[in-house]
Amino acid sequence: MEHLSNATIQAFYLLFSGDRDLWRIIGISCRVSSLALMIAVLPAIMLAFILSYARFIGRRFVISLFNTLLSVPAVVIGLTFYLLLSRQGPLGDLHLLFTQSAMVIGQIALCFPMLVAMGHAAFQSADKRAWETARTLGASPLRALLTIMREIRFGLLAALLAAFGRVISEIGASMMLGGNILYYTRNIPTAIALETSKGEFAQGIALGLVLLLFAFVLNTSLHYFQGKGQVIA
C-alpha cells in the first residue's frame, strides 16, 4: 500500500513536472478517443433519433441489435478490424494497422452502439409535444431536432459520458489495432495493461488515477454546461 502511494505521488510528480513520455501517452489517449467520439456522435444521434421517431419494419430489431452490440468485448472488435486491416485482409492495402487511425476506427466501432442505445433511451423519454410544438411553431426538422436534444440533454450527456468512458478505458481494440507501440500508439489504458503485466502494479494504479483525473475534469466541465440536475414538472 505504501508502495502504492509512493507510485501515485511519483505519477503525479511526473504529470506536473511535464514528463514527456507520460504526456505523450496521455496525448495519444486524448487524441484518439476524442476523434473517435467526434466522428461517431453525429451519425449515432441521428440514428437514435430515427429509431425513436420513425416507424419502420425492423425498428425493434435494430434497437435490440445495438443493445446487443454493447456486449461485444473490445478485443473482439479489435480482432475483427485487425482481420480487415491486416495485410491479408480486404483493407490491407491501406496500411492502417498499428497506427492511430486504426485505433480510431476500433474506438468508433466501440462507442457507436453505446451512443445509439443510450441516445435512443434518451429520445424515448422526450415529451412528444416537444417535437410537435417545435414543428407547429415553424421550426425546420433540424431545428426541431436540436430543440428536442436540448430538452433531453441530461440523457444525451449521460450517453456521451458512457461512450467516452467506454473508449477512453478500453484496452482490447487499442492493443490489437494500435499495437501498444511506445510514442506511437501507446495510450493510457494499454500503458496500464503493460505496467500490470510487468508486475508493476503501483505504476498501473497511478496511471489509472491520472486517467481518472482527466475524466473527472472533463465530466465536471460538461456538467457545468448542462445546468442543474433537477427533476422538474
Binding site: M175, S197, K198, G199
Partner: protein, 256 residues
C-alpha cells in the same frame, strides 16, 4: 491423496500457449492427485504473484530475476527444468543481412546499422530482458523510429513484426506455434547466447505458512523426475521438439 488438492502455478504465457502444460499437467494430476490451477501471465507478474503469496509455485524464464527472487527470500530454491532457445525472426529477404552474422551480437548490430524495423516486446518479460541484454553486449542504445517497443505478449509481437515486415526476437516455442500464421522466417539461430532456460521455484513457506508447499514440492519433484523430464523431451508440435529437459543437474543456476 493430498490434503490440499489444489495447487496454483503462475507461469509465463509461452509455456501455456505452447501447449506444454496441458500436455504435462493431467499426467501430474494422475500421478499425485494434485489439481493444478494455471495462471498464465508475464514473467514479471508471475514473480510478483509469488512474492505476494498468491500462488504456490512459479515456472518462468528470466534467470537474473529468478535469482534475485530466491535471494530476497521470496522463493525457496530454483530448480532448472528445461530450456529452449531464442531465434531472431525477420522477413524472408533479410534486408539487414543477418544471415551472414557470426554471433547474435553482430546480428543485432546489423539491424541497428541498417535501421531495419525491429519490434521489441518492451514488457519486461524474460524475452524482453534477454533482448536488452544483447543490446547491452552490443553496446547499442536501441532508439529511433526503427525500434518499436510494443509492450505485448510474444504472439502479438510476432503478428506485429509480420505486419510491419520487421525483425523480432522470439522464443522458439511461440515461433513454432505461429510459424504457419506468418511470412516471417527464422533468420538467425543457434548462438550460445540465445539459450532460454526455465526454472521452477516454490514460494517460500516461511513467508506464507499456509500455502500449498507440499503440492509445490510435489510438482517440482515430479517435473524434475525422470518421468517428467522424459515427457518434456517427448513433447513436440508437428514433429518440432520445443523444449530440452535440463533438470539432470543439481538445483541452482544452470550454466549459460
Amino acid at each position: 491423496s493430498p490434503v490440499n488438492k489444489t495447487l496454483r502455478l503462475a507461469t509465463t504465457t509461452s509455456t501455456e500457449n505452447s501447449g506444454l502444460l496441458s500436455y504435462l499437467l493431467p499426467r501430474f494430476t494422475q500421478a499425485t492427485g494434485y489439481e493444478v490451477h494455471v495462471i498464465a501471465v508475464g514473467t514479471g507478474k508471475a514473480l510478483r504473484m509469488g512474492q505476494d503469496g498468491d500462488v504456490d509455485v512459479v515456472l518462468v524464464h528470466a534467470l537474473p530475476a529468478e535469482t534475485k527472487f530466491v535471494a530476497a527470500g521470496y522463493g525457496e530454491r530454483r530448480y532448472p527444468v528445461m530450456y529452449n532457445d531464442f531465434v531472431i525472426l525477420g522477413p524472408v529477404n533479410d534486408p539487414a543481412g543477418l544471415k551472414h552474422a557470426h554471433s547474435v551480437v553482430e546480428a543485432m548490430s546489423k539491424i541497428s546499422q541498417h535501421s531495419a524495423l525491429f519490434v521489441s516486446r518492451g514488457d519486461d518479460s524474460g524475452t524482453n530482458k534477454k533482448e536488452l541484454a544483447i543490446w547491452r553486449d552490443a553496446k547499442i542504445k536501441p532508439k529511433g523510429s526503427w525500434y518499436r517497443e510494443a509492450g505485448q505478449g510474444m504472439g502479438k509481437v510476432i503478428q506485429m513484426a509480420n505486419e510491419l515486415d520487421a525483425y523480432t526476437l522470439s522464443d522458439r516455442g511461440t515461433w513454432i506455434a505461429y510459424r504457419d500464421k506468418t511470412h516471417l522466417k527464422v533468420i538467425f539461430e543457434g548462438d550460445e547466447g540465445l539459450r532460454n532456460p526455465y526454472g521452477i521455484i516454490a514460494v517460500n513457506p516461511k513467508r506464507y505458512p499456509d500455502i500449498n508447499h507440499a503440492g509445490a514440492q510435489a510438482l517440482i519433484d515430479w517435473i524434475t523426475s525422470h518421468d517428467g523430464q522424459q515427457l518434456i523431451a517427448q513433447y513436440a508440435i508437428d514433429g518440432f521438439k520445443l523444449f530440452i529437459p535440463s533438470a539432470t543437474r543439481t538445483a541452482g543456476t544452470d550454466s549459460k
